[in-house]
Structure formats: C-alpha cells, structure tokens
Symmetry: C2
Subunit: 340 residues, 2 copies
C-alpha cells in the first residue's frame, strides 16, 4: 500500500497539501488539487477514513439503536427489518454509514455516550417505550443539541423529533370497517401501553365505537406483548366470550396469527365463525391461513424519512430542527374478515 | 464537556499520560493509571473513540456487506435478518460495533477499500454469488491477509473462510422423505446455480433419487430466482405436468409459497392433491396455508459463528486462519406433505 509521502513526491507538493486535498479542508488551487488526485489514483492511495473524519470531527456514521433482548432474533421481526431497510436505502445515497447499536434492556440508558465518544454524528432510536428513565435519557440527549430521531414512538408533551404512523386513524378505520361488516361485539387485543402505538390504537378503536353508537365494554379489552405466543394465550380467554363475540381485532399481525391458531385448534374457523383482524401488514399476514385483514404501516418509508431528517441536519450550523411526522396508514382487506 | 487537559491537571500528570492510559498504549504504573481513571470519572470525561481507535490503528467496527438492490426491502427477507441478528448478538458481547455496508449490484467489487480506508477491522460478506468478478475480488482481499468470512456461500476450490449450512444432506434428507411418503415423480424448483446453495440442493436431490433407484428426469427440473413471484410463475409450467406428478420441492420457502398460491388458484390442494415442500424454515413457512414442510437452516447461528471467527482473529499477530464450517440442517414436517 502506498502512503502520503509517496503521493506528495509524485505530485511535487508537501505532505500537508496532500492531507488538505484528501480531507477537503481549506482553500486549494484547482490545478494543485488535480495533481494530488492524479498522483493518488496512480499510486492506488486511499486516505485513512478514520483520520479524515477525525480531522473534520466527524464519525461518518449514523447510529441506529435497537433494543437488545438476548435469545430473541430481533431482526426477524418485520417491524425492525423494514425500518432498517428504509434507513439503509437512504444512507446508501449518502456518504454516511449505518452503525447498529444495541441498548441493553437493563443497562443505564445513556444515549449521549455515543456522541461523546465520537462514534456517531446522529442517532435513530427504535423500540423506545415510555418509562421515566427512557424519557429522562431522551431529554438529556436533546439538551446536547445533537441530531436524533425516534421512529414509531412519540412523547407527545416533549419537543423530541419523531417519524410515526397515523395509528389513531389507522385503528379507527379498521374498527369502523369491522362494524360495517356487521360486527358490534369486537374484542380488542392491544399491546403494552408504554408504546404510544398501543395508546393510539386503543384511542382509534374507542373513537370508532363511539362514532357508531356502540357502548364501551371493558370485558372486550385484552392485553398481550405483541408476540404470537401472547396472542395464542389471550385467545384462550377471548374464547370464553363466545358465542357473544363478532370479531377479534389485534394490535399487530403476530398476535392476530396467534389468535387464529388457538381458534382453529378449538374448531372455530377464523373468517367464518369469527372475524379476525391484525395490524402492520407484515409478510406473514398475506400468507397466513386465512390471509389476514390488516393495516399497512409504511415502516420502510418511516426509516427513510428519519434518515433523511438526520442527513439534513448535518449540513447546518444551527441546533437541530424538530420534526414530528406522522405517515398515512392503509386498510388492507383479506379473507379473515370476509366470510366467503 | 471536559477535556484531556482538565483530566491531566486533576490527576497531576501530563496530557500525554492521560492519552496513554485512555488508549491502553504502552506500560503505565498502576497507581498512575488509577489516578487518571478516577479523574476522568470525576470530570465525566469520555476519550474520543475515533481518536483512540486511530491511535491503535483500529476502527472498532466489523463490516457486514449486504447486496444493495434498490426498491427491494433487503432486511425483510428472513435470510438476511436471521444472519444479521446472529452477528449482532455475538458483537454485543464484544467491544466491536456492526457497520452495515452495501455492495452495489453493478459497481466495482472492491472489498479491500473498506480496510484501506480504515472503516473496518474485519468483514462478513452476505449474498455473495459465483461470478468471475466476485471471485477475483475475494481472492484479492485474501491477498491482503485481512480477516473476512463468507456466510452461506462457498468457493470450493479456493482457500476462503466461510460458515455454511450442510445443504447437500439437508436436500437429500428432504427428497428421501418425500420418496418415503410415496412420491416418485418429484419436481424440483431450484434457485440460480451461481449460489453454492442451489448447487448443493440440486446435488442432494440427485443423490436421494439415485439412492432410491429413481431415474433422473430433466423435465422435473425448474429454475426460479428465490422470490415468491418466481415460484408462482414456475408453478404455471409445473402445472402442465399434472397429473403425472407426486410432489413439488422448492429450494426455498418463498418459492414454495408462490407455488402453493398458483396451485390453489388452479383448484389443486397443496398437501392433498400434490405434496409441496420448501427449504429455510422461515417465519412464513409455519403460518402459510397449509403450513409448509421445510428444512431448518441455522442462519442465526451461522451469523454468530462468522462473528466469533473474526473476533478470534483480532487478537492474533499471525495472518488470519481459514475456517470452513458447515452447520447441520434439520427436516421439519408440516401439513403440506402429510395428506391428512
């Protein structure tokens, strides 16, 4: 491998000039710049990226924070995969690389250390949920005026940037659709309320019931943890309400698929004897038996938008702007609600 | 934020000593080291990670190379997600971070530039396929004696490290199982032969036929590109062989699910009128209609093993060892082949 000295000799300039050209620092005469670049090309010389970033006080990385849960295959979940894919697509068009960072479930939530140690120039935070500790960590990070963005989670009262889905209207539309299908007794299987997602879906469900003059019934509200297993388990309880039930609507597809498994084992046909709906429009929802009526969430686009926001901040001298973006969802109707 | 100078003053040492302690470079008296660490802690001082790595000539990153295909949501595929998840889990236990890198489909395949620019200390390469250009790029990389590892792809004649699955025996076991189920006319829908995977599966299929005295029939061999769509399309051709066919075995689950869709549209019941099998044991295979008989591939573990191999190289002064690891697969029997 060639070095800076050889490039300087071939170009007939000083080593400092080679550095300045390679790092894009300071004014350089165009003819000099071209001489250096030609010499570097001829010698197959690559300036050290780490050194170059260090000179510019940049890491060149956008960090994506994922929750780390041992023995759970995180990337397998449709949700994280899609968001990551959107971020990756946006960064591929930029000079930035994507650094995956894992947040321990139990460890101290110190997001700022990744900035302090110069590992990242910006952060995208996935899988955040509302606890006092998490909220404090995010507000502390905001105090440092570094660019970061939440995806699919909001802290409504706080001035924190996020890219989210329109989950209230998504859930309201789903519930209204089930009512239009003739259902009045609709069990709702929600996820944990620490996620703004779950609160949004609950609100949408409530709004649709009210708009259609259907009385609220606590008996119809169930909670799982967004896993297929929790859906299958809660379905055991939901079964006890039969035959007084017209539909089960779960806050994500995985739980809905778990519900359908339990129903089928009990000899109840989803889509015939009881309507079942999910949320997310995951890969699995289109191939499940029966295919699942669901709400499409533009996770891929949400990832893209979060990355685009960060890239926009890097050029600015000002402190980061705040964006609060909610992207549209879409009702997807399949056989699990059509009694065909 | 505090700086090195303040730490040096509080600890009563020179700034150079602070650097040496923080970077773990050279011999330092234990009492001095402790004084510096105490002062750093008291002042909430974080040494710049980039500077520290640069001093050690390390990036602290393991790069994971993924194929970049615009408008395809890469992470969504079970295959990449599982491998990435395994790598992430292994690195989480280490001091290394995971840098995602995208290889352009058309661009020059210069893997060495990520080492030359100091972006990574090691590479894990996913989605590699056999072309002269790719082979040259990998051999060139090997010439630099930098640690890297292929996952789920081999170049048999070359001395390149890989972690792969035992796909010949996996495919042989699947084919033998179908024969035991009474099938003699088994269509095989393979993926492109540029993947060692596809060649392994074809070989396993052939071996099982031979072992059971079933004559090879070119008519039964089809090719897709591992997408669900290609499975659905090839199934149109496969349908023309009916009723002279007992089973369709596809080289991955996505194609098998595509095949089942086309069959159902034509009024043919998978698992009753025609047995269907896949390969990968993806999430979708367990929820498809009917659930799919398949071969479990330990993708998560393959990712872990590749990362473990790289971490082992980093401590060594020698040139990287070569590992060639094949992990066991497992037959998974479900309703798509059981005529119940």
């Amino acid at each position: 491998m060639s070095n800076r000295k050889q490039v300087a000799q071939l170009a007939g300039v000083s080593e400092a000039t080679v550095s300045r050209v390679m790092n894009g620092i300071g004014p350089i005469k165009e003819s000099t710049r071209q001489k250096v670049l030609d010499a570097a090309k001829q010698l197959d010389y690559y300036p050290n990226d780490v050194a170059r970033r260090f000179a510019k006080k940049q890491s060149g990385n956008i960090g994506v924070v994922l929750p780390f849960v041992p023995k759970v295959n995180l990337f397998s979940t449709f949700y994280f995969s899609e968001i990551l894919s959107g971020i990756g697509e946006m960064l591929h068009e930029s000079e930035y690389d994507l650094l995956l960072l894992f947040r321990d479930a139990d460890g101290p939530k110190d997001y700022s250390r990744w900035f302090k140690t110069g590992k990242v120039d910006g952060l995208i935070i996935l899988g955040s949920s509302d606890s006092q500790e998490e909220r404090n960590a995010l507000l502390q990070l905001a105090d440092h005026h570094v660019p970061f963005c939440l995806v699919n989670q909001r802290y409504d009262e706080e001035k924190l940037s996020y890219v989210d889905g329109e989950h209230v209207s998504g859930s309201r539309e789903m519930t209204a659709y089930l009512i239009q299908q003739g259902c009045r007794r609709i069990a709702f299987l929600n996820g944990p309320l620490a996620y703004s997602n779950s609160r949004d879906r609950l609100l949408g469900y409530r709004q649709a019931l009210e708009e259609h003059g259907i009385e609220w019934n606590d008996q119809y509200l169930f909670y799982g943890n967004y896993s297929r297993k929790s859906g299958a388990q809660q379905a055991e309880l939901i079964l006890k309400l039969l035959p007084k039930l017209d539909a089960v609507y779960a806050a994500n597809d995985r739980m809905a698929i778990g519900v359908m498994q339990t129903l089928k084992q009990a000899g109840i046909r989803p889509g015939h004897d009881l309507l079942v709906a999910g949320y997310d429009n995951s890969d699995a929802s289109s191939v499940s038996d029966p295919p699942l009526t669901t709400v499409h969430v533009p996770f891929h686009l949400m990832g893209r938008e979060a990355a685009k926001y960060l890239l926009r901040q890097f050029g600015c001298k000002e402190q980061p702007e705040i964006i609060q973006l909610k992207l549209d969802t879409k009702l997807i109707i399949r056989a699990s609600t059509t009694k065909n």
